[in-house]
């Protein structure tokens, strides 16, 4: 799973969000390192919807503009949990081997 995809799913893990909310949340989660642009975001959202990992929660019109909220599907939650566990396992192993686990965590 690509980092941007992982971060988008993570942004939706706590609840539904609209496109701009996802961009802001991804920037916050990554400490400002990942700045999603709209083209990248919607290419990823389209793929995630096609894979049934996310779905549309609701739509609103705010200031005459469409705002669509996305949510994780059960399959998306499962996939994110599996990916997070995999990354966690790798990170733990790396830190243990570096003998830094105690100090860094």
């Amino acid at each position: 799973m690509q980092e941007a995809t992982f971060l988008i799913l993570t942004a939706l893990a706590a609840g539904s969000q609209h496109g701009y909310g996802i961009i802001s949340d991804v920037a916050e989660i990554s400490g400002g390192r990942v700045k999603l642009l709209a083209g990248t975001l919607y290419t990823a959202l389209d793929r995630l919807r096609a894979d049934r990992l996310i779905g549309v929660d609701r739509e609103e019109i705010v200031d005459n503009r469409l705002r669509r909220y996305y949510r994780l599907t059960p399959a998306g939650e499962k996939r994110l949990a599996a990916e997070a566990a995999r990354l966690h396992s790798h990170a733990t192993t790396a830190l243990r081997r570096l003998n830094l686990a105690g100090g860094v965590a």
Binding site: G19, A38, T40, T43, D46, R65
Partner: protein, 219 residues
Amino acid sequence: MSEPEMSTSKAASLERGYRRLLAWYPGWFRRENEEEILAVLMACAQDGQKRPSLEASADLLKGAARMWLRPRPGQPRTVFAAVRLMWAGAFAELAVAITTLATLGSVRAAVMHSYPAAWHSAQVNLIGNAAEAPLVIGLWLWMAWANGKGKNRGRVALAVFFGLDSLAILAALSQDAVTYAPADLAVGAVQWLVALAAVMLVFNPASSRHYQYRQPVLR
């Protein structure tokens, strides 16, 4: 976060710029997502920004290119592949027509040098091929459109086209065409193979539902 305040004219100018970029996306994607993406783009805009940044423009164009390489929602991958093959058929026909016209002079010189008596029939053949090219390209594009839309007459037309193409190849072989036009026959064989693959894909059982279902699928 709220959308930065911008003057109406600057915002309108920026929105037009974004719409021009979004126009590069496939129609099905624009119909479902354009207004939403535009809202996000406008929300991300800097105060006073009048036109899309280079970075955002490149990102949108890259996104558009990727979306053209994906099947529309509900479209079987078999049909998607067949439609791309039909585009390739149209493109190949265009390339052949351009090559024919561009090399007409050198072909004429070569034929006149080696087989002057054959120039008349060669000329008729070359001009005939170039003249029918727009028709064949148009047919490929129409078949790609019709099959993409799930119109049954699109795949019937493809099957008929493939049948006629097969007969033309057989006729060319029976007239010993390979002895004087191997390149022409090779191009014909490639076109035949493209049509064969497209026919197999659109008549694949996985494609059937696409030709029976008319309503757009919303995810």
